[in-house]
Symmetry: D2
Amino acid sequence: MPLKTPGEYKQSLRDQRTIYFRGERVGDVTTHPVLGIAVEHAAIDYAMAEDPRHRGLAVVDEGGREFSRYYHLPRTSEHLLARSELIAASTREGGTLVVLIKEIGTDALFALHLVSEAMAARGVPAYRDRVRAYHERCRDSDLAVAVAQTDVKGDRSLGPSAQPDPDHYVRIVDRRADGIVVRGAKVHTSVVTNTHELIVLPTRAMRAEDAAYAVAFAVPVATPGLTLVASPFGAFPKDPFEYPISARHKMMETLTVFNDVFVPWERVFLAGETEFAGPLALTFVKYHRFTAVSYKLPLLELLVGAGRAVAEMNGIEAAGHVREKLTRLASYHTTVAALIRQAALQCTVEPPGLAVPNTLLTNIAKYQFASQYHQAVQMVQDLAGGLLVTAPAVEDLRSELTGPLVAKYLGAKAGVPTEDRLRLLNLISDLTASDFGGYQEVLAVHAEGSLEAEKLQTYREYDFSEPVAYARRLAGIG
Amino acid sequence: MPLKTPGEYKQSLRDQRTIYFRGERVGDVTTHPVLGIAVEHAAIDYAMAEDPRHRGLAVVDEGGREFSRYYHLPRTSEHLLARSELIAASTREGGTLVVLIKEIGTDALFALHLVSEAMAARGVPAYRDRVRAYHERCRDSDLAVAVAQTDVKGDRSLGPSAQPDPDHYVRIVDRRADGIVVRGAKVHTSVVTNTHELIVLPTRAMRAEDAAYAVAFAVPVATPGLTLVASPFGAFPKDPFEYPISARHKMMETLTVFNDVFVPWERVFLAGETEFAGPLALTFVKYHRFTAVSYKLPLLELLVGAGRAVAEMNGIEAAGHVREKLTRLASYHTTVAALIRQAALQCTVEPPGLAVPNTLLTNIAKYQFASQYHQAVQMVQDLAGGLLVTAPAVEDLRSELTGPLVAKYLGAKAGVPTEDRLRLLNLISDLTASDFGGYQEVLAVHAEGSLEAEKLQTYREYDFSEPVAYARRLAGIG
Amino acid sequence: MPLKTPGEYKQSLRDQRTIYFRGERVGDVTTHPVLGIAVEHAAIDYAMAEDPRHRGLAVVDEGGREFSRYYHLPRTSEHLLARSELIAASTREGGTLVVLIKEIGTDALFALHLVSEAMAARGVPAYRDRVRAYHERCRDSDLAVAVAQTDVKGDRSLGPSAQPDPDHYVRIVDRRADGIVVRGAKVHTSVVTNTHELIVLPTRAMRAEDAAYAVAFAVPVATPGLTLVASPFGAFPKDPFEYPISARHKMMETLTVFNDVFVPWERVFLAGETEFAGPLALTFVKYHRFTAVSYKLPLLELLVGAGRAVAEMNGIEAAGHVREKLTRLASYHTTVAALIRQAALQCTVEPPGLAVPNTLLTNIAKYQFASQYHQAVQMVQDLAGGLLVTAPAVEDLRSELTGPLVAKYLGAKAGVPTEDRLRLLNLISDLTASDFGGYQEVLAVHAEGSLEAEKLQTYREYDFSEPVAYARRLAGIG
Amino acid sequence: MPLKTPGEYKQSLRDQRTIYFRGERVGDVTTHPVLGIAVEHAAIDYAMAEDPRHRGLAVVDEGGREFSRYYHLPRTSEHLLARSELIAASTREGGTLVVLIKEIGTDALFALHLVSEAMAARGVPAYRDRVRAYHERCRDSDLAVAVAQTDVKGDRSLGPSAQPDPDHYVRIVDRRADGIVVRGAKVHTSVVTNTHELIVLPTRAMRAEDAAYAVAFAVPVATPGLTLVASPFGAFPKDPFEYPISARHKMMETLTVFNDVFVPWERVFLAGETEFAGPLALTFVKYHRFTAVSYKLPLLELLVGAGRAVAEMNGIEAAGHVREKLTRLASYHTTVAALIRQAALQCTVEPPGLAVPNTLLTNIAKYQFASQYHQAVQMVQDLAGGLLVTAPAVEDLRSELTGPLVAKYLGAKAGVPTEDRLRLLNLISDLTASDFGGYQEVLAVHAEGSLEAEKLQTYREYDFSEPVAYARRLAGIG
C-alpha cells in the first residue's frame, strides 16, 4: 500500500471516534475549529513525504518498498541519527511543536519488539509475532499512531491493585476466548484525536498482585467504549499575526477513558505477565526520551534565533550582557544537541537487533534541556523587552486612526519596519509568554518523564564502580 | 472632600478620554468587556478604604482629615513599612496583581517633592509649590494617578535630540505664556485607562542639547490630544473556573501618545532644566522599585502556597525533592520580604524630610526577586504536574455525559473532591502557564527596570571603599 | 573579679591539660609552634576589651560591674545586634577567622538558660540554678569556654543506644552521689586547646532508651581523663608574606575523648531527661547559627574587597564581566548581612526573658551564605588570575639575583609596586587556594550544621498555613 | 632513535639549565626535594610507553618506526580520540594531575604546522620546513617540550608596543645573520623545569606596530640567558598518608625570563609577520583546550568516585540529597566527556591535512567543566563531612597512646577500618581543601584560557545565521 497523502490522511480521520470538547461530542475532527488545527499540524508528516526537500529523510526505500522512515527499525547509530534528524526536521516545519503522530507510536513499537523478544526468550513466544504483524500493518498502511501510558493513578502512595477505585490504573476486567476487555483511563494522551491507532502501555513496574494491570495493547481510535475528553487548554480563536505559532500549530491532549473496551488477542501485547510491565514501560521511555530531545532541538534553535534577532532589532546586540545571554543560549542549544548525538553514537544493539540510544546520555540530555528551559525563556524575554506584553493589536496597526501612530512610535532602529518588529515580538510573546509558552514550559518539566525521573535514571545508569575503584586506589585503600 | 467610594470612582471615569482597543474607540471604560475588568480590579483600592478589615491600613487620619495612605508623605521607616504593607495587602486582594492606581502616582509625587526641593535649593523655586499643590489636589480628591515614563526611544544607540525622528522621546514643542505643548509617546503605561490623572516623567538623564526633552508634568487623562492605544495582550473571554485570577483581575497597558498636548504651567514640573532630569528619573525609580518589591510579595506567597497545596493534593509532600522545592520557594519568599523590610528600616531622610528606602537593599531585593522568578515557576509547575495543560474543561466536568468520567478518573487522594483539584490546577495554570503567567514573567524581568538596571544600581550604591581598605590592611599594603 | 588581660589569659592556659599533636603530648600550649598561633589568635578577644576602639562594644557595664559583652544575656533585638556586631568586629580583627572562645560558650549558656527554665517549668528545677551559677562564674572570671557537641556517631543509620560500640555517643557510665562519670568522644571541637572550660551538649534528640546519652555538663579543660587529639590540618611553617592570614591566625580542632571523666553535680546540666536533649541541641544551634552568620560577614567583606582591589590592580575593573562579578559579590555580602540583621529584629523573647534570634531568618541567612560560598571563591579567583598559584616566592623577590627580574616583570599597572601586587595575590591565595581556603570552604558547608540541616530547619520553621490558605481562597476552594 | 626510558629521561635533565627556587639556584632538578617530585611525576609519560597495559595507546608504530603517540599528527577523528584517551590515561596515572610534557608541546607543534602552512600559501614558505624538521627532531629523540605563551603583559589596557616597559611582552631585540635575540618574560609556564625544550608562542593578535612582538621559536631549556623562577606554591614537605596525591604528583610553574636569548634561524617560527601572530595564538588554543578537557576527565571521575565512596563509608548513600549530589556529579562528568568526544567527531581537516577539534564544542566543553568545578567541589566536601579539616594526624593513628582512641572513635560503619576512612578523607582533603585543591580550582578558572575567553570563543564560533533565519521565517518576516 502506498504512502498516504495529506488529503488521504485527513479523509481517513472521518470515522466514529468518540471525542468530547468542552462538553460536546465532536463530529468531524478535520473541520472542528480547534481539533482541525491539530489535524492540519499533524498533516505535516504526510506532506513532508511528498516534499522533495524532505523526501529523502522522510521516506525509506527497502527493497523497492517505500515507507515512512518512522517505521524503519533502527539497527545502527546511523539509523538512530537519521530518525533523530527526521524528528527535528518535522518539528521545525511544525513551528517547534512536535508532530508526533508516528514518533511516539514507533517508540512504543520498538519497545514492544524488544520486550516481546525477551518474552519469547523466556518461553512466551506469542506476543512477538503479534507485534511484528501489527508493526507491519501500521507501516504498510502508513498509519498515525498515538500512545497512552500515564494512568490517572488515584492515590499516588498506593499501587494499582491497592487503589480504593480499582479502575485508577487501566486493567483487564475480562478475559475471553477472542480477546480481553479493559477498563480505566489514561491522562496526557497526545495527538490521539487525530491518529488512526492507539497503543496502550503500562506506566510502571507491577507486582504479582497487579497482574490485571500488566496490560499492553492497541486499538483503532474509533473503537467502541473508547472515549476521549480533549483539553481546551489554549484553545481560543487566535489571529496568526498575534500568535504566529500557536494559531497554526496545535497538539491535542486528552483524558482517554476505556469503558470496557474489547481488544482481540492479535492486538494484545501483554496480559498479566507482571515481570515484563516494568521493562516495557522503561524501554518505551528509552526511545521516547531520545525522541523528546530530538524534537526539542528546533525549540532551542528558535530561542537562540529569536533572542539574537530581537537583540539586533533593538540595537543592543553589542552590549556585554546581551552577548553573555546569547552565548549561554547558544551553549545550551549546542550542548543538548551534542549529547543526543552522542546518545545515538553510543547506542547498544539488543535482541532482535534493535539499536537502543544510550540511556545515560539520553537522560542527561533530557535533563540538561528541561532544567534550564525556564532560565532560557527568561533570557529571551529579557532581550525582547516589555513590549512582549504591552504592544498594540494587529487592528491598531491596520487602522487608519491608530496605524500611523503605531508605525511612527513603535519603529525602532532605522531600516526595521514597525510591522516586522511587532511580528518578531509577537513570535516571542507566543513562544514564551502565552498559553503556548506555558504549554512548552510545562512540557519541558513533565513530558516524557519529569526532571526527577531523569535524575533517577541517570543515577541508575551511571557506572559508579570504576570511579570508586579509582578513588580507592588513589587513597591507598585495598 | 471625602474619600471616593468604588461607585464614585467608576462613575468618575466616564469622561471624554480617547482610548483605542483593537482599532476601535472605547466609549465607556467601565462597561467595556476588557477594560471594564481592569476598572473592577482597580476599584479594590477604593473598596479597601471602606472595608473594616483594611481601613486602618488604607486610610490615614491626619488632624481629623482622612485620606488614602498612599498620599501620606513618608517621613520615617514606619511610614515606609506601613506603605509597603498596604501595597502588599491590596495586591493580595487583587489576586497577586498590583492595583497600582495610587502606588505609582505617589511614587512619582514623592520624587517630585524631593527633586523640586533640590531645585529650589539651587535657585529654581517655582516647581516646589506646584508639586505641593498638585499633591494636595490628588490627595483631597482621592484621585487615581498613572505614570508614563518609558519613552519609545527609537534608535537606542542615540540620545533624545539625536534621533532621526525628534518625537521618539516626549518633548516640548512650544512654550506659551500659559503653558507648554508636548509631543511624543510613551510605552508600557500601566493603568492609565482607568485613572483620573497621568504624571509624565523623563526616562533618563539628559544633556544640554536635550533641553526640550527634560520635561515632567501632569494632565487629566481626558485631555485633548492624549491618545491611548491599549494592548490586547491576554484579552480574550475567560471563564473564572479556568482562569481564576485573570478572569477577574486585569491591568491595562497602553501606548500613550501626546499629539501636541497643552499643559498649563501649574501642571508643569520640569521644563528644560536638564540637570534635574536624571535625578528625577532615578528618584522615582527609588520609590517605585520599593513599591515593586512590596507588591511582588503576594505573588511569592502564592507560589509557595500553591506549590504546597498541590503537593499535598497530589500526595507527594513527603518526597525529598518536593520538600527541597518547597524549602527553596519558602526561602525565596522570606529573603525578598526581609530585604525589602531592611530597605525601609535603613532608609535615609532627605529634604524636605521624606524617607527614601535604602536604594542598595531595594535594588538587591528587586534583583533577587526577578532573577529567580522563572526558576520558582518551574518548581511550582514541577509540583503540579502535566494536568496543568491537559485537564478537561469546566464544561466537561459539568456535562452529564463526561462529568462522571472526569469526576471518577481525575480524583486523586481520598477526601479531595475532583473539582477542588481542578480548581487548584487551574489556579496554577493561570498563574504560571497562561498569558497571565507570561505577563508575570515578563514583568518580573522588565517592570520597574530590567535585571541589568538593578545590577548597575547595586554596583553603584555598594560602598567598596571599606572592603578594599580591609583587604589592603590584611595584605599588608600601605 | 576584673577582666583578664591577654597576658593573664595566656598565663592561665599553662596547666595540666592533656593534648596530643602529631602523636606527641603538648607541654605548654602558649609556646607550641602550632597551638601557640591559636593562642595568640584567641587573645584578640582579651586585647579588644583593652582597646579603646573596641572597648565600648566588647565590654558591658552593668550596675558598675564590667564584664565581657559575650556574657551579657540578650533580652532585646538591640542586645542581639550588639552581640552580632562584636562577633563581626573580633572576627575582622582575626583576619576573617572567628575568635570563638566566648562566642560558642555563651551560645551554649543561653541555650542552657532557656532549657533549664523549661525543665523547671516542667518540675525539674535543679538545673536552672546550676546553669545560673556556672554562667556567673564564667562571666566573673572572664573565662574562655569551648563547646563539644558533635558525637563521633559510629554507624549513622543507628541511634546512640543501638550502636555496636556503646561509646560512640558520649554517655553516663556511672552515677555517683557526688556526680557522674562520662565516656565517649566528640569531634570537630574548636578552640578547646586554648579555653579554660568545655561545655558538652547532646548532638540530637534522644529516645527513652537513650537515657544514658541525654547528658550535658561542663568541665575544666585540665580535667583528668579528658584527652584532646589536635588536628594537624594546615599546620606547617608559614611565611607571613606568603600566608598573610593563616600564618598569624589559627583555630585548633580536636578529637575530644572522655575516658571515664568525673563531673560533679553542680556542673551537670542534663542527666537522663531524654525529652530535653533535642530541645537543648536545637536551642544551642539557634544561637550558634546566628553567631555563625555574624562571623561570616568579615569573610564576605574580604571577598568583595579583595576582588575589587585585585581587579583594580590588574586594570580590569571597567570590564563588563568584572563589574558583573563584583556586583554579585556585593549583593551576596549585603543579602547575608541584611538577613542576619532582620533575624535579630524579628527575634522572640522566651522564658526567662532571653531574646532568641528568628530561627527561620537565621537558617536562611546561613544557607544563603553557605550555598554560594564556593561560587564566590570562584569569582574572586577569576578576578585575581593564575598568579595565585604560579607566583615566585618571597625569597625570589628579596634575592639579589632574581629580585630585579621579579620586580621588573611582575609589575602590572604603573604606580602599583610589584611587592604590593604579590602581597594582594598572596592574600587571595591564602584566602581561597591554600589549606586555609579549603578550611573556609569546608566550614562553610559543615560548621554549625550542614546545608541540609539548614534546609530542613527552614522547611520546619516557615509557616505554610497562610500561603496555602491564600492559594485555596484564590482557587475558590472552601 | 628509540623511545627514552624513565631513567634516560631523568638523566637527560641533568644539564646547565638555570632555575631558581626560593631564591636559590637549583643544581640537579632530579634530586631537588620539590622539583624532583615533578620529575618523577613527568616520568609517568616514559613509563607508560614501556608498560604493556598502556603501550598500545602510548606508542604509535608508523612503518616500523615507533614513537610516542603525542607526536603523531592527527588526521582523523579517530586520531584525535586516541590522543584524547592517551592524555586522559596518563593523567589518571598521574593522580588527576596532567603530565603535560608532551601534550602541550605537540599542541604547539600542530598549531605551527597549520600556521606555517598558511604562511607558505601566502608566500612565506621558510617556516614550514623548520617546523617539520623541529617536529621530527622532537619526535625522533622522544623529547619533553614545554610551551610559554602568556606574557607578563604589564598594563593590560595597553598593547605590546605601547607598554612603558617595552619588555613586558617577549620581543625581538636584535636580528642577526644567524638568528634573533629575544628579551622579555612569560608567566604560568608549566613543566619547563623538567622538559628538554621550550616552545615560545605569541599570546595574542598583534598590530603592525607590534612587529617585534610577533615572535615564535623554540630553545633548549639549558639555553644561556633563559632563567626560570619556580613558584613555591604548595611546596612544603608532605606525608603521603595525609596528601596522597600531592605528596607524589607535582607540576612546576615558572616565571620564564629571556635575558637576550639567542635563537638560531632554524628554531625561529615567526619573526615579525604580525598577521600570523593572532592565528598562531588561537590555533594553539584550539588544540590546547581540547587537551585540557581531555586531562580534566580523570579529575571529574575522581570527584564522582570519591564522593560516592565517602558517602558509602559514611553510610549516607541512600539519602535523597546524597543521591541528588551524586547524580549531579555523574551528569557533570558525563556531559563534559560527551562534549569533548563530539568535538573530536565533528573535527575539521585543514591544510596540510591536520584534524582540528571542533572549536565550538571544545570551548563549550571547557566552559562546562570550568564553570561548575567549584560547585562540584562543594558537593564532594558536603558528602565527606567536617573531618576533612579536623581529623588527627597519621602519627596519632600510629601512636601507642592515641592510636587506640583514634581507631575506636573514628571508625564509622562496621567493616570499614578507621585507617581506610582516614585515607579516603585525606584523599578528598588533598583534592579539595589543600593547596593542591586550590591549585585545581585556580587552574579550572584560568588554565588554557579563562571562563570569559571560552565564552567569547563560543559566541564567535556559534553560527547564529540559521537560527535567526528560522526565527524570521516563523515570524513571517521577509
